[in-house]
Structures are given as structure tokens and as C-alpha cells.
């Protein structure tokens, strides 16, 4: 009996995020009668889609012990490029937008790997550069979309499920599979855990890190396309501060900022929790400034917990070695 109790406790601790999500759904459905329907559950997924897609790339990057502050800039830049090129056709504009966004990742990766610059300063710089370029290209005004069929990406649906949710699921399954069952994914954990031993084990660290940056920007570019197709507008000021929000979601989901730990399943839970928290605050009609304040508090709480947990783990590790 005691053992069973212990097992249950362990299960709850391991799946604490799931329980928080269930709790929040309960609160939401009490507060808002119309909430507990399949439609509104889908609408939560729909709401978090932009953050969710970007969070996959960010998780993979965070696991390798690096991170990217330029994702918000990439997202906005992709939208601007796509909408500026729309006179040349749907296919070309979308492809060029996606490539332009991914190119930022190539730049980030090269500067970090070849230039050996701190990832923080590189991505801070590229964030400013590409936000500025986006503003310059769009003359600081939002651009309206010209091709109606482009909106299908974000607004259309297959068999009642929104396209965006389908994309979200595909990209999470892909991320989960890559991290769990491919060499590329396993190397990610090795690099994040200990760079030196990863190098000694024969992992090409530079090449891998480069691809993690490129993939991170690719997901950001994809999110930018989804966002712009949904609102049918592109602006270079979209998504201010979104990078932090995404990092917080990943860390909430158990990915460590110190690298080597985490996964996309946790990340989607983190994204959902943060998304529902916003929903709760909207339902309870909280002032926008207080919403921002509580977002900052949540992020700080998450980071502090991460630091405390990883310190305890380090102490436990030392004890075991002794």
C-alpha cells in the first residue's frame, strides 16, 4: 500500500504540468460555461500556435546549451518579406519569406560557430538588424496581404481541425522523433550535457550547433508565415518580447537553461499553460499592465525554480560520486 502511494506521488510529481493544465481547464470551464467544448479546446491550441511552433526550435537549441533572442525579429522579417513579394505569386513569395527567415539562422550559426561570439550578443544584434531592416523595407507601415489563398494556411481547416493545429502536431511529432530516435537529436543532449566529452566522443559540435540555429530560425519563420496569414497583415513590429515568452515556456516544460535536459513534450505543456494563463486573465478582465506584470513574475519564478532544481541536482551528483 505504501509503495503504491509512493508511486502515485512520483507520478504526480513527474506529470505536474499535466495536472496544472487539467486544473486550469477546470477553472476555465467553471468561469466560462461555454469553455469545455471541443471547439474551445481547439481554440486554445489555435491561440498558442505561433508560440508553439517557435518553441520547438527553441527547445532543441536550449537543449544544446545555446539560445536565440532573434526569433521575434525573424518572425516579423519573414512576414514583411513574404508580403512584399506577393506580387510575384504565392509560391515564390512564401518560399522567399521562409528562406529569408532561415537565412537569419544561417547568419546566427556562422557567427556563433565560426566567429566564436557569444550567442547572446549575436542574436541580440541580429534581432535589431532584422527588425530594423523589416521596418525599413516596409516603410514602418503594416502591409496588407494581396493573395486570398495565402490566408488558408492560418485560417483554413481539414476535417474540422484548423490547418495551424495540424502543422503544430506535425512539427511536434517531428521534433519528438528527431530528439528521441535520431543521432542528430541524441547528439543535442550530449553537447548540452558536456561539450568536452561530446567532442571526445566524436560529435561534430560546430556543424550540429549550426544546424540547431538554422532549425530554430526555420521554425520562427514558419510561425511568422502562420501569424501573417492569419491576420493577413505583415508588420515589422510583430511579436515584441516573444523570444522571452518562448524561452519561458520551454523552461516551464522542463528544458534546462544549462543545457542537456528537456524535450518537446514538456515544451508544448509549458506553452499551453502560459497560453491558458493569458486566457484566464482575459476572462477575469485583468488590466493589461497587470497581465504583463504577472507574465514577468511567472518567468522569474520559472527561472528561479530551474536554477534551484539544477543546483540541487548538482549537489546530489557530487554526493553520489563521493
Amino acid at each position: 500500500m505504501n509503495k503504491l502511494w509512493q508511486k502515485t506521488i512520483n507520478f504526480i510529481i513527474a506529470q505536474k504540468l499535466l495536472f496544472i493544465i487539467i486544473l486550469m481547464i477546470m477553472v476555465l470551464s467553471i468561469a466560462d460555461r461555454s469553455f469545455l467544448t471541443i471547439r474551445s479546446i481547439l481554440s486554445i491550441f489555435d491561440h498558442v500556435i505561433i508560440n508553439g511552433v517557435m518553441a520547438v526550435g527553441m527547445t532543441i537549441l536550449l537543449i544544446s546549451g545555446s539560445f536565440d533572442l532573434s526569433v521575434g525579429g525573424v518572425m516579423a522579417f519573414t512576414g514583411v518579406v513574404t508580403f512584399l513579394l506577393q506580387p510575384y505569386g504565392l509560391f515564390i513569395s512564401t518560399l522567399c519569406g521562409l528562406l529569408a527567415g532561415t537565412f537569419v539562422g544561417v547568419l546566427n550559426g556562422l557567427l556563433v560557430v565560426k566567429g566564436r561570439i557569444n550567442a547572446f550578443i549575436v542574436t541580440l544584434g541580429t534581432m535589431i538588424i532584422f527588425r530594423g531592416l523589416g521596418l525599413g523595407l516596409s516603410d514602418s507601415t503594416p502591409i496588407k496581404g494581396r493573395i486570398p489563398s495565402f490566408q488558408l494556411l492560418g485560417r483554413g481547416s481539414i476535417l474540422g481541425i484548423p490547418n495551424s493545429v495540424v502543422i503544430l502536431i506535425i512539427i511536434y511529432v517531428l521534433g519528438w522523433y528527431v530528439l528521441k530516435y535520431t543521432k542528430f537529436g541524441r547528439d543535442d543532449y550530449a553537447i548540452g550535457g558536456n561539450v568536452l566529452s561530446a567532442r571526445l566522443a566524436g560529435i561534430n559540435i560546430n556543424l550540429n550547433t549550426f544546424f540547431y540555429f538554422v532549425f530554430c530560425s526555420f521554425t520562427a519563420a514558419l510561425a511568422g508565415l502562420l501569424y501573417c496569414s492569419r491576420v493577413n497583415t505583415a508588420s515589422a513590429i510583430f511579436g515584441p518580447g516573444i523570444e522571452l515568452y518562448i524561452i519561458a515556456a520551454a523552461v516551464l516544460g522542463g528544458t534546462s537553461l544549462f543545457g542537456g535536459k528537456g524535450g518537446v513534450i514538456g515544451t508544448i505543456q509549458g506553452v499551453l499553460i502560459l497560453g491558458m494563463l493569458e486566457r484566464v486573465m482575459v476572462i477575469f478582465n485583468v488590466n493589461v499592465n497587470y497581465q504583463t506584470l504577472s507574465r514577468g513574475l511567472v518567468i522569474l519564478a520559472v527561472v528561479v525554480t530551474d536554477a534551484l532544481v539544477s543546483r540541487r541536482e548538482r549537489i546530489l551528483l557530487v554526493r553520489r560520486e563521493v
Binding site: G115, F120, I129
Partner: protein, 326 residues
């Protein structure tokens, strides 16, 4: 024999020249920039323009002192602009209760903000980037809540506008405050025991710990000093601008990091100095002024600033490798 010695002397000379070049490249760059702009724009070398440059960069320069301290201690304060906004808002809101109260409250606010950052980073050892990004949101939201998101107009009290507007011996009063803060920070960083502790901690915090330095306290102290000096610059900001809005402060963050990095203070910690930041400030101010004089659109100015930041760090990295060779 003489042949050989001449040859070695030549090699020595070459080495010395290269070392000089790599060490003083920023000054050389400054001179080149200065000359180019003087030729390119007729209004660059006027006294009015230079007074203008001084007025525009004082707040940035004072903030850069604090940021230098933080970066030498292997950290970055991304909440700097938010602290600036919060202190300015507190200052302006409390002005009806008298000027001393307002200033004291602003400085206390800055110190408390620095304390929050320092405690989370130094004591709890959370990642400094995420912590300061989080506190950035927190402080901005607090400033917005206090001010209600409105534009706050500064009371036109005599002493208050004095700091921002008056001249002393032909130079703006602000300039003397800037110079004073550079001198004080230079002495603290380079001539005092706490400065040496900071350098040691930034270089290698574990080694510093073993050497008997309480590195978590040192790091905490660096953020508190930063909070304090940001509060001081917020007083000047509030006295210079007739209206304070929380959004106006946000662009200071990127500029202040660029200034420090441009000077050559390394983000890897433990390397740098106040004199480097002064050179960085001068270069940055001239570039910004030059871009305005050459009528480059604001959006592209932002992009160029980002490129300058990356190039500066890239140069610094190559410089370090070259210096190892020579």
C-alpha cells in the same frame, strides 16, 4: 652579426607596431571616423553640434559606467532601460512632495531594482539573461501601472531643470556629471580592492571563490551599483526631457550594451575598463550623430547599430586571437 641584429630589430619593430595596432585599433578607428565625417558633412565640426552630442549622450554614458561594471562581472543587465523608465517615473510622480524626496525615492528605486537582479543572479545563481529579461518586463509593467501609461510632465522647478539645461564654463552641466562618474568608476574599478575582486570574479568565479572572494556578493554588488547609477542617469533624463513616457527609455538598452562592447569590454567577463567604455561612447556618439547628419532613415539607423555591435564583437574576437600570436 650586425646583419642578424638589424633583422631581429626589424622583426621586433614589426611586432611592436602590430601589437600597438591591435591594441589601439579603436582609437585609430575613432580618428578615421572623425576625419571622414569632418569631410563628409560641413556641420559636423561646429561647436553647436558638439554641445548637442554631449547633451544626447550624457544619460547613455552614465548608464554605460554601470553596465561596464556588470559586464566585467560576467553578466549583462537587460533590464537597464526598464530601471531607467521606472526611476524616472517615480522621480516625476513624487515631485509634488519636493525635490529631495523625489530624488531619494528614485535612487532607492534604482537600488532596489539592482538588488532584485543581484539577488536572483548572485545568490540563487539563475541565468542572468533570462532573469534580467524577466525583470525588464516586471519593471516596465510596474512603471506603466504607476504612471497609468500616461505621459508625465516634469514640474518646471528651478533646480530640476538646472541640471538639464544650464551651462557651466561653456559646457553643459551634465557633462561634468558624466566626467565625474567616469572618474569615480575608473578609480573604483582600477584602483580599489573591490574593483580587483570584480575582475577576478568575472575572469573565473570558482578561482575567485577559492582565493577567498565572496563571488556571489561581488556579483550582487555589481548589479546594485548598476541600479544606483541608472537611477542617477534617470534624474538627468527626467530633467532634460519635459515629458516622460515609459516607452521612450526602451531604446537605451541596446545602445548602452553597444557602447560598452564597442569599447572592448568582453562579454566573457574579466576584461575591460572604464577608459575603453569612454572610447566606445565617443565612437558610438559620433556614429549616431553622423548618421543623423547624413540623413539616414531611423529604421536603417537601428539596423546599422545592430551591425556595428556584431562587427565590434567579431573584431574583438579576432583581435584576441591575433594578440595571442604576437
Amino acid at each position: 652579426m650586425i646583419e642578424v641584429s638589424i633583422k631581429t630589430t626589424r622583426i621586433e619593430l614589426k611586432k611592436i607596431f602590430l601589437r600597438f595596432f591591435y591594441n589601439q585599433a579603436m582609437i585609430i578607428f575613432l580618428i578615421v571616423l572623425f576625419t571622414t565625417l569632418s569631410i563628409a558633412s560641413g556641420s559636423f565640426l561646429t561647436i553647436d553640434n558638439w554641445l548637442n552630442i554631449i547633451r544626447q549622450t550624457t544619460v547613455l554614458g552614465i548608464m554605460a559606467c554601470g553596465m561596464t561594471v556588470v559586464i566585467i562581472g560576467k553578466g549583462v543587465d537587460l533590464s537597464a532601460a526598464a530601471i531607467l523608465a521606472l526611476c524616472a517615473v517615480v522621480n516625476v510622480m513624487l515631485q509634488p512632495y519636493g525635490y529631495p524626496v523625489a530624488i531619494t525615492a528614485a535612487i532607492l528605486t534604482g537600488i532596489v531594482c539592482g538588488l532584485v537582479n543581484g539577488f536572483l543572479i548572485g545568490k540563487i545563481k539563475a541565468n542572468f539573461i533570462i532573469v534580467t529579461l524577466g525583470t525588464q518586463i516586471l519593471f516596465t509593467a510596474t512603471a506603466l501601472i504607476i504612471s497609468g501609461g500616461r505621459n508625465l510632465s516634469s514640474r518646471p522647478e528651478r533646480i530640476f531643470s538646472y541640471v538639464g539645461a544650464e551651462n557651466l564654463l561653456g559646457l553643459p552641466l551634465m557633462f561634468y556629471i558624466l566626467a565625474l562618474s567616469f572618474i569615480v568608476f575608473g578609480i573604483i574599478l582600477h584602483k580599489s580592492a573591490s574593483g580587483r575582486r570584480l575582475f577576478a570574479t568575472g575572469l573565473n568565479d570558482k578561482a575567485a571563490l577559492v582565493a577567498g572572494i565572496n563571488s556571489s556578493n561581488v556579483i550582487m554588488g555589481s548589479y546594485i551599483v548598476n541600479g544606483f547609477i541608472i537611477a542617477v542617469s534617470s534624474i538627468i533624463l527626467a530633467s532634460r526631457l519635459p515629458r516622460i513616457r515609459v516607452g521612450t527609455a526602451s531604446e537605451y538598452l541596446f545602445d548602452v550594451i553597444t557602447v560598452v562592447v564597442l569599447g572592448g569590454t568582453a562579454l566573457s567577463g574579466g576584461v575591460g575598463g572604464i577608459y575603453k567604455t569612454a572610447i566606445g561612447l565617443l565612437i558610438f556618439a559620433i556614429i549616431r550623430n553622423g548618421m543623423s547628419l547624413l540623413a539616414i532613415p531611423y529604421e536603417y539607423q537601428q539596423a546599422i547599430k545592430g551591425a556595428i555591435l556584431i562587427l565590434a564583437v567579431l573584431y574583438d574576437e579576432f583581435n584576441r586571437r591575433k594578440r595571442l600570436l604576437y
